[in-house]
Amino acid sequence: MPSEGTSAPPYVPPDQARFWLGTLTESADAGFVGTDLRGVIITWNPGAERIFGYPPAEILGRPISALIPPDKQAEEASSLARIRAGETSVRLETERLRKDGRRTPVSLTMAPVLNEQGEAIGISVIARDLKMAHFVEAELVRREAILRSILDTVPEALIIIGESGLIQSFSAAAERLSGYTPEEVIGQDMSVLVFEQHREGQVAYIARYLQTGERHITGIGRVVAGQRKDGSTFPMELSVGEIALPGVRQFTVFIRDLSERQDRERRLAELRSELVHVSRLNDLGQMVSTLAHEVAQPLTSLANYLSGSRRLLTAGRSEAAEQALERAAEQATRATRIVQGLRDFVRKGKTEKRVEDLRKTIEEASALAMLGIAHKLTLELQVSPDATRAVIDKVQIQQVLFNLIRNAAEAMADNLPGAISISVTRDGQMAEIGVSDTGPGLGEEVRAKLFRPFVTSKPNGMGVGLSVCRTIVEAHGGRIWADAVPSGGTLFKFTIPLLALPSERTDRRA
């Protein structure tokens, strides 16, 4: 091999220049065509052969106009005029004729070839085949149209977000769901669709995923609180998928409004609760009938003995009266025992008690109770670490919570903004659960009567609800009561048995 040569100017020794240029010319994809000043083709490379179909022997010496379709002649003339006028580079996209007569899209770069004296000795034309580029462009347009069609017709609300969570595309269904037009949200962070008070958390959640790539954000089923343009909230289910593209991270997010489903579930839960209540009433009806009969007996006897005793006393026959009164007292005792027996029966009532996590129990009941509450409320839950698990019939205690929370929410309907505060603390062996609201509060008289059946302070009568709550709580061995909150509002409290700590359990057994 000859010497490597120095890497210093001139980098290509003048006598070797033609080797370099020759190789470049031979290997280029682009067509290199050179013409003299009359337009006769005097250089032709393999690239040009590929593009136009002519081998050198068939085109060298022929005028370049052979390659130019009739409707492009004027354009060519004007390009040449520009070069003659002194432009050193003319670029255009146009069409030329192949050997087989077909037109082919090309991009051309034309330049004058100058000699040492700066005189033009010819024209150089570099041609690039635009067929592929046009094809790709057409394909892009086609795919864009398909995407648009999908976005317009997919019944689910679909948005496409970029790596930073910004919305890039917004389907028609997403428009209908959220009330936003694409123009209003494209470019904004996806969290614009999330309930205001939760936005920070949601943004953090997505950001965390995008940074760490943790996969649990993708897939189906994350439910968050969504917010429409008009401010109304709805339960929103997100399904996120990552679009597999090298170098660019994009995500498809399907959004579902679960209101209807949750509405149905809530109605079912309410129905179930009503059913339980009705069946209790049925049992209650039976019990009342039995009770009425059993208590009626000693009461009848009591009344008879008393009436006779009165007459005896009026007649001065106190000894006989005394005897009768003794029997009257016996009947009174009998009646008392019957009532006590009834209370025992109610307390023992059928329940399925299991160890339950109190936070989860309360959160579920709250979610259900707060559904469909249109006005703005905050709900706060605090569970003391020493009162986390209880032995309860979860469905029943949730009924109690559902009642109390809905009562609280309704109490605050005219007193916005409102706050419901739920607390769980330990009181010996029991958990004390408090539900407070910032409503107008209840008077002492009303509070005293709250848990009796059919006593209500409200026109649409939730009175039966509280009486059932009392039955449930007392069946768990707890009690339920209502306090006034000094700053305004009502605080309902009830107690339920905590899961005993191992140390306590051993103590109990001993």
């Binding site: 007996q297 009848t300 008879n304 006779g308 005896l312």
Partner: protein, 116 residues
């Protein structure tokens, strides 16, 4: 004089009715069941205070028997649960009155006074 009959399966109720009516000056015959009453043929009472809820024969069933035999004894039905059905049937059987337990003293005595 005619006696007041009382039919009730609860001994305390029976005894207390007897006491109350005797102190009010009446002669009383007591029966612990409908069958016991049916078996008693001598010295028939002038009117009857009858409990509905009884183990072998209910008060209404007893009255059906009596009406079938053409006995038109004045009857006061006393019951803890005067349901519409019971009240209707009592009316059909020509029972003079249906009272809810515990009955008011005045009502029982005025029935007896009116029909003895």
């Amino acid at each position: 004089m005619n006696a007041v009959g009382v039919v009730d399966d609860d001994p305390a109720v029976l005894d207390s009715f007897r006491f109350m009516l005797e102190v009010a000056g009446h002669r009383v015959l007591t029966f612990g069941s409908a069958l016991e009453f049916l078996a008693h043929t001598s010295d028939p009472p002038g009117c009857l205070i009858l409990d509905q809820q009884m183990p072998d024969l209910t008060g209404l069933e007893l009255v059906e028997r009596l009406r079938l035999e053409g006995i038109t004894l004045p009857i006061l039905l006393v019951t803890a649960w005067p349901s519409p059905a019971i009240v209707a049937r009592a009316a059909e059987l020509g029972i003079e009155g249906v009272l809810e337990k515990p009955p008011g003293e005045g009502e029982v005595l005025s029935f007896v006074a009116a029909h003895l």
